[in-house]
């Protein structure tokens, strides 16, 4: 009965409703899945809508969506950094699965300028974006090293394998010629780009400011950012892009955006990596009996005076039957070993445009190849964005991390003790409780607990006051504690246990207030941006060292005993620094065709003193979007998708020097006549006219997308003039002061950068193939030195004589800025008769010391060029040669996707660079010291002089050790060791596989992606040393450098 009533009612209702509907089109419900075309990952949060109504619905965690739209309407699918897709619904079509491809056109990218997001086609600067995906599959302590070879003009040399440490980073060549230390110990002052993380600037050079001899447990703050948490990185290169970041942007800027929540349904991602760090090939040595017979044979053949008698008294060589000396110890194997490591990361994010949040938890661990070294990091990053209305938004972020670093017996970058002990004679017994030297024990038994703890909180609020006018304020506070507790047992430290204690804190308060205004007047678009920034930075560090604890088990308590204390107190790197800056930017464009950028920034710093604390950074940029010009587009639209020209010029000023440099320092000097004395410090003459360093840069760029996105081209050429660089001049003693900081150094860099993205296959093809090739050619020229140097400065210091040894840097105006100053090696004298004879004295060409005939060269010795023709080889026979900085850098990346598989191979290269092969020099020196307690390296296939008449040898007779002590044939300062440091390196190969959907479903999960990565796979180089990249930033293959490991990684990514 009831049914009978209901049904007709429904029918009538429908009829009534349909009367309304009949006037419109029929609605349909469409379902489908949105996936990444290459990786087949679901694109959670992609929006689906119609052209008429815009975005309506978001895809869920599996990429699935359901939407009700008019029949026959056009669905549009949009997602950040993917190309928009549209699909016209056919009649009756209810399922639309879409594979979206990543947006290849750079013109559509969103870039950031002066902390404000802009569309790339309306900006004039030069920059490059790397997405977070590119830095995920290879576990590294510092994400920076994965940028190597990815950006044209960004020269990264991963010159240390120490866990958590940074290599050297330069954007567009040299920015300074200032070196610290002299001779062999010199190193180039780091000029790292400024990093800005989610709008907060960060000092990446922090841990490296003391150079290789650094003290304390600091790591670069960059090492504390988990790679999984990075959404994108943008590298800003030219002046218009960097000028708004002020003086600290003078060396380039790298912006990092971290992941934000974008899915209504919370997403949990877990990723784990299991990896093996493998020891690279180490030095080959002769072991055991081979070493003994080599050394004994050498003494028998070349020994002079009482060497043979001495041999019989050198027990470790002569007493072969003694079990103590009858070993074949692999010393390197004691210190170096393969290590297995894991990292785990859990990310939780969710939300929509109105409210979203993210939490990222990470554990990273990397045990070093060398015993007792390693880096561990625990970090938790959270952020939250809330937009209560369309006008107001808040963004809050907390980043915390705790790292643990162990540096063994060395400091973090150099491991000299390990290196020295790895060289020990194989005849000596390996370390045991009773038979070991204290430095071996110190490397193996040191107990260390150190590392930084970092907390950073950031709050950002934006409010739109009027349409187009918005106000933004950003506050950030970072606090970092660095501690180091080291304990050396008594056996490892000359019978006195030692405690080292380091404590340091640094804090940074940052505030920025921004006002932006956008206005369109017809075809004219205006944009204004004004902001100010302040910093308050503080740092204090202290250090204590006490020897003599009760025993090796107790690390304390240790009472104070003046006799045992080795100094304590606050270190002299204390600082309290403040800066205040104002910046202004104005952009005008006409129909988005012509864009003009003007920026201006003022920086005030407490380090510059109160007289003139401000530096000024202006820039101008212009862009012409060629393809928006109808008269061009009409002719080229078939093959040219988009093209533009960019031109910019600007200046960044970098303050150098501090209050002491400008005003001098006054020291208490005790008493005279019972009254206090305070006098000026005579180390360095104050320079009240000290100018900040100026970086003036011109950039001309061209971008194009061709052949329906098959090819992207970005080309930049630039001229960068660095003037007012600091050069220290040693002063005459009549001027009382030791040195003067002159502003008269200047270098220029000019070069070309080219980046190509090639997609050889059609977009619809089953195989997706993308190739990225980039390269940069950078010339640096030393333009100016203080007049007193007369165009050349060689940093020999501390000696006036002609007999100085060491690999000095030569700075000569007109050529590359940092060259070597070496003897010219022209091979080997085949016979003694070939050695020139001084016609005046009748003495053969000789070394400086005295007239002793033993100092004269003979057959088998290195043929060093006697440049001044005085038949004496001394410092005046050296000449300038080589270039310590690379001319060409770049990289090459290949991604092929097929079905659920994807393969990425990425390589980098560096070409035309001189590297001083000190490891080879040391190897040969080791061959000529039979009485020494070092191992004998294998001479291998080196072309060593074989005997009288051998004219084609490269290396002098190393076996004649007795003669070698007078000759120093293997001195480091000769062109023999200056080798071509070009290399091509396969950085990484990654194979990834997404498990099939149905299998994953059965496991109750959403997606599983597995990867296998091998990194640091192979290096192709003409260089004959162990690792061409493992050299310092002045191209010296330094002793005790930490080797770069090769790693094999198994990765697992799971989406819940």
């Amino acid at each position: 009965m009831r049914k009978q009533i209901i049904w007709p009612l429904m029918f009538f209702c429908c009829l009534l409703m349909c009367q309304n509907l009949m006037a419109q089109v029929k609605k349909v419900t469409v379902k489908g899945t949105i996936l990444d075309a290459v990786t087949k990952e679901p694109l959670t949060g992609a929006t689906i809508g119609t052209q008429a109504e815009g975005g309506k619905t978001q895809a869920d965690i599996n990429g699935k969506y359901t939407v009700t739209v008019d029949e026959g309407s056009v669905l549009t699918f949009t997602f950040v950094s993917y190309k928009s897709e549209s699909h016209k619904l056919a009649a009756g079509e209810t399922t639309v699965n879409i594979n979206m491809t990543t947006d290849a056109k750079q013109a559509n990218e969103v870039v950031i300028r002066g902390y404000v997001k802009r569309n790339r086609d309306q900006t004039t600067g030069s920059s490059y974006i790397i997405t977070g995906k590119e830095v995920q599959d290879n576990p590294v302590g510092n994400v920076e090293q994965l940028l190597q070879g990815k950006v044209a003009g960004l020269n990264i040399q991963n010159n240390t394998g120490a866990p958590g440490m940074r290599g050297s980073v330069n954007i567009r060549g040299l920015s300074t010629i200032a070196t610290t230390g002299t001779g062999d110990a010199a190193f180039l002052q780091p000029t790292s780009p400024l990093y800005v993380i989610d709008g907060v600037p960060l000092d990446a050079d922090k841990a490296s400011e003391f150079g290789f001899d650094q003290q304390g447990p600091g790591v670069s703050p960059l090492s504390l950012i988990p790679q999984e948490d990075i959404a994108s990185m943008e590298i800003l290169k030219d002046a218009t892009a960097t000028a708004l970041y002020g003086s600290r942007g003078a060396y380039g800027v790298i912006l990092i955006q971290t992941v934000r929540g974008k899915s209504k349904v919370p997403v949990i991602r877990y990723s784990a990596m299991f990896y093996l760090s493998a020891v690279p090939k180490l030095r080959e040595t002769l072991g055991g009996a081979a070493e003994r017979s080599f050394k004994v044979g050498q003494i028998n053949k070349y020994g002079i005076n009482d060497d043979k008698y001495r041999l019989s008294n050198t027990q470790f060589l002569s007493d072969s039957l003694n079990a103590y000396y009858n070993n074949s110890t692999n010393w390197q194997g004691i210190f170096y070993a393969n290590k297995f490591n894991t990292t785990h990361n859990i990310a939780l994010d969710g939300g929509d445009a109105r409210f979203n949040y993210k939490v990222n938890l990470k554990y990273f661990s990397q045990s070093g190849l060398i015993e007792k070294t390693g880096f561990e990091n625990y970090s938790m990053n959270m952020n939250m964005e809330f937009k209560p209305s369309s006008k107001l938004s808040f963004f809050g972020q907390i980043r915390t991390s705790m790292a643990r670093i162990r540096s063994g017996s060395g400091n973090q970058v150099l491991q000299t003790v390990v290196n020295a002990n790895g060289n020990k004679s194989t005849l000596q017994p390996g370390p045991s409780f009773l038979l070991a030297t204290s430095d071996v024990l110190s490397s193996l038994n040191i107990r260390e607990s150190s590392g930084p703890k970092n907390l950073s909180a950031n709050l950002n609020a934006t409010y739109e006051l009027l349409p187009g006018l918005s106000l933004q304020t950003n506050g950030n506070y970072t606090y970092e504690i660095e501690t180091q507790d080291k304990f050396l047992p008594a056996a490892a430290n000359g019978q006195f246990a030692r405690i080292d204690n380091f404590y340091g804190y640094s804090s940074e308060l940052y505030n920025r207030n921004n006002l932006t205004y956008t206005k369109s007047l017809g075809q004219h678009n205006l944009f204004f941006n004004v902001f100010n920034e302040i910093y308050v930075k503080k740092r204090q560090q202290s250090y204590t060292r006490i020897t003599g604890t009760p025993n090796d088990q107790y690390e304390g308590p240790s009472g104070y005993d003046g006799n045992l204390s080795r100094g304590a107190g606050v270190l002299d790197n204390f600082y309290d620094l403040r800066t205040a800056s104002y910046a202004f930017a104005f952009t005008y464009d006409f129909k988005k065709k012509y864009v003009l950028d003007l920026t201006y920034r003022l920086d005030g710093s407490s380090a510059n003193g109160p007289v003139d604390p401000y530096t000024k950074n202006p820039s101008v940029g212009f862009r012409w979007n060629i393809t928006k010009e109808d008269w061009i587009a009409n002719h080229t639209s078939k093959w040219l998708d988009q093209a533009d020209l960019r031109l910019s010029v600007g200046q960044n000023i970098y303050p150098i020097g501090n209050l002491v440099d400008i005003y001098g320092r006054y020291n208490p000097n005790g008493f005279y006549n019972n009254q206090a004395r305070v006098g000026i410090d005579f180390g360095r003459v104050p320079n009240p006219n000290l100018l900040p360093k100026k970086v003036l840069q011109y950039n001309l760029g061209f971008d194009a997308t061709l052949f329906n996105s098959h090819l992207d081209i970005t080309f930049d050429t630039y001229y960068k003039a660095v003037t007012n660089d600091l050069v220290s001049i040693n002063l005459s003693n009549v001027l009382a002061f030791g040195s003067f900081q002159s502003n008269d150094g200047a270098i220029s860099n000019y070069g070309y950068e080219l980046a190509l993205t090639i997609r050889p296959l059609k977009q619809s093809a089953k195989v997706k193939w993308t190739m990225n090739v980039n390269g940069a050619l950078n010339y640096d020229v030393l333009v100016k030195l203080p007049a007193i140097f007369n165009g050349q400065y060689i940093d020999i210091s501390g000696s006036n004589g002609l007999d100085v040894s060491g690999q000095f840097l030569a700075k000569r105006v007109g050529r590359n800025s940092l060259s070597n100053y070496l003897f010219t090696n022209e091979g080997v004298y085949a016979t003694t008769a070939q050695v020139p004879v001084d016609p005046v004295t009748g003495v053969r060409l000789r070394n400086l010391v005295g007239n002793n005939p033993l100092n004269s060269y003979q057959g088998g010795d290195a043929r060093l060029k006697d440049l001044n023709g005085d038949y004496v080889i001394d410092v005046r026979d050296r000449s300038v040669s080589g270039n310590t900085q690379p001319l060409i850098t770049g990289g090459f990346s290949n991604t092929i996707g097929y079905g659920q598989f994807s393969l990425n191979v990425y390589c980098s290269y560096t070409a035309v660079r001189s590297v001083l092969n000190n490891s080879l020099a040391q190897r040969l020196v080791a061959l000529s010291n039979p009485f020494g307690t070092n191992a004998v390296p294998s001479p291998g296939d080196l072309r060593i002089w074989r005997g009288t008449g051998d004219a084609t040898a490269t290396y002098a007779n190393v076996y004649n050790y007795a003669h070698e002590q007078y000759m120093n044939n293997f001195r480091g300062e000769q062109t023999l060791w200056q080798e071509d440091g070009s290399y091509f390196k396969i950085n990484q190969a990654t194979l990834s596989y997404n498990l099939p959907k149905d299998l994953v479903k059965r496991l109750g999960l959403n997606a599983i992606r597995t990867t296998f990565t091998a990194s640091n796979l192979a290096v192709f180089t003409p260089y004959s040393g162990p690792n061409v990249e493992n050299v310092n930033n002045l191209g010296k293959d330094i002793d005790g450098a930490y080797p770069n490991p090769r790693t094999y990684t198994l990765g697992l990514n799971v989406n819940f």
């Binding site: 609020a461 407490s606 006054y666 005279y672 006549n673 305070v678 001027l735």
Partner: protein, 547 residues
């Protein structure tokens, strides 16, 4: 929503507060130049440091002995050391000889000098080497005399202070500013004068923060500039320092005048064309000083019985001293050989007895007789033991030994008499005025002045026919040699009056040629050539000296 806007605006406004103040930071770990020179205390401490540096330089070696006495060749070292004391062979080398006084045993009388080899003024080079041929560090450290860096440190410091004072230092009134400028100028000109006397031509500058290398400048021109520099500011200082703890230790008008007189007399010896003007200015300055001293009662000559007071320092007779006292730095005893008295004294003026039974150096009897032809002179009694017997066992110059040793009671310690280091003394000014007047042929006035000094020593007045065969000028010269013996001026008197070329006046005389080639100068350490392409050394001392 309004609230939020207000909040944002408050944040923006708050962040703009007084930017200049925000950027001014006072480092807590060091004093930098922008925070220094803010008060009288800062200036005082800075000036004290300059005097302190001069003191430190002066006591690096026996400056007064080496520069004033030893080079003229009359000082003979004893041939064997006594106890722990070394043979002072360097003293002989400075005097151009290798002679020795043999030990006399117990004989009290005159001992003949043991002559070793010929005389050569170039022996000096051995004495100023840091190490001898065997690599042993020369114990007398005369090498310090070849290094001028310390003087330039003081000069830079003084130049910077003058610059800061001229810029204006808050909390200083005009009189204080002028006074401190005058004092800083005195300090730098004292340095230049000292260096000119040692090295001849020197680098001269008065710019603060001088950083560009400069060549050496003709010494006459340097002294002229120094005179002009100080003349303008001499009246900004009080005649003497009234604070007894600073008397003659800090600059005063008397010290400035004495320095100006010395400078004028130096130039008179080298700038022959203008010598009359220099003499006139010296005489005028001397008159000004003595007239004003007459009125105010100080400076004055103390009686000879108060000699210990003069040598103790801060007396009314001293014009400028580099002061040292056991009271202030008992643990900071200067270099043991720095006081000249050390060379000429033994027990009981030098402790302990077992190490100090002989004087390491004696003056020749011939020289002493030349100075004191008439033995009726109180100075002989007060300043000497057995002045004419040329015997290390008995000869002593007690002039610098009247005060108790610095270590006081501890007799076993190698103590030094607690003396000041006298630079300028009132008697010096009086005699310079006398010399200038004598050169201007105003003999009567000159004689009066000479007799002021003699009267104090109860020595027969000039002219003294009783065994004093000199004319007035020589009498004044010898009077200076007697009165200022050991105070570091005798050799410079020989140089500027060219008496150095006459063997009547010195045992280590130079020929006119050697004199003209700079044989009277000291060698300059080769480090001066570093980083200065415009620099040259004293060629007399380079290589064979004939370049």
């Amino acid at each position: 929503m309004k609230k939020i806007i207000i909040c944002l605006l408050v944040v923006m406004v708050a962040s703009q507060y007084s930017c200049k103040k925000f950027l001014d930071i006072t480092p807590i770990d060091k004093v930098t130049g922008n925070n220094y020179y803010k008060s009288v205390q800062d200036v005082e401490a800075n000036i004290t440091d300059m005097y302190g540096q001069l003191y430190d330089k002066y006591v690096q070696t026996n400056t007064a002995g080496a520069t004033g006495e030893f080079r003229s060749g009359e000082a003979i070292p004893s041939s064997s050391g006594s106890g722990a004391r070394a043979v002072r062979g360097d003293v002989a080398l400075l005097g151009g000889h290798k002679n020795r006084i043999p030990n006399s045993g117990t004989t009290p009388g005159l001992v003949n000098i043991q002559v070793n080899g010929t005389r050569s003024d170039r022996y000096l080079l051995f004495a100023v080497a840091e190490r001898d041929d065997a690599g042993v560090t020369n114990p007398t450290r005369f090498s310090a005399l070849t290094k001028w860096g310390e003087y330039y440190r003081v000069i830079q410091a003084a130049n910077i202070l003058v610059d800061k004072l001229q810029e204006g230092i808050p909390s200083l009134n005009q009189d204080q500013t002028k006074k401190y400028i005058a004092e800083a100028k005195f300090i730098r000109n004292y340095c230049y004068f000292t260096m000119v006397r040692l090295y001849g031509d020197v680098v001269y500058y008065t710019n603060a923060y001088q950083k560009d290398p400069l060549p050496r400048e003709n010494m006459v021109s340097v002294i002229k500039k120094c005179i002009a520099d100080m003349r303008s500011s001499k009246n900004d200082l009080p005649l003497t320092v009234t604070d007894p703890s600073n008397r003659s230790i800090r600059a005063s008008k008397s010290a400035v005048i004495c320095l100006l007189m010395n400078m004028n007399m130096w130039n008179a010896g080298f700038d022959l064309g203008g010598k009359t003007a220099y003499y006139q200015e010296t005489a005028a300055l001397g008159k000004e000083l003595m007239d004003e001293a007459q009125v105010s009662g100080a400076p004055r000559l103390l009686s000879l019985s108060e000699w210990a007071v003069v040598m103790k320092g801060r007396s009314e007779e001293g014009l400028f001293e580099l002061f040292n006292s056991v009271n202030y730095n008992p643990n900071n005893i200067p270099f043991a050989l720095a006081p000249i008295g050390d060379a000429f004294t033994h027990f009981p003026y030098k402790l302990p007895e077992y190490d100090n039974r002989t004087s390491p150096v004696v003056l020749t009897a011939e020289y002493m007789k030349k100075l004191y032809p008439d033995t009726k002179d109180n100075r002989l009694a007060i300043w000497f033991d057995e002045p004419f017997n040329q015997n290390a066992e008995t000869f002593q110059m007690k002039k610098f030994a009247t005060n108790s040793p610095i270590d006081g009671g501890a007799g076993s310690v190698n103590g030094l008499p607690d003396n000041t280091f006298m630079i300028f003394r009132y008697a010096d000014a009086i005699l310079l005025r006398a010399e200038a007047l004598a050169e201007l042929n105003q003999d009567a006035d000159a004689t009066t002045l000479l007799n002021i000094v003699r009267k104090r020593a109860t020595s027969p007045e000039f002219p003294n026919p009783n065994g004093e065969p000199y004319g007035l000028k020589d009498a004044i010269f010898y009077e200076r040699a007697k009165e200022l013996m050991g105070e570091g001026s005798h050799y410079f008197d020989l140089v500027r009056t060219k008496r150095l070329t006459n063997r009547l006046y010195t045992d280590n005389y130079l020929t006119s040629d050697k004199y003209a080639r700079g044989g009277w100068t000291w060698p300059i350490d080769v480090s001066a050539l570093n980083n200065n392409p415009l620099m040259s050394l004293n060629s007399y001392w380079v290589g064979s000296g004939l370049e």
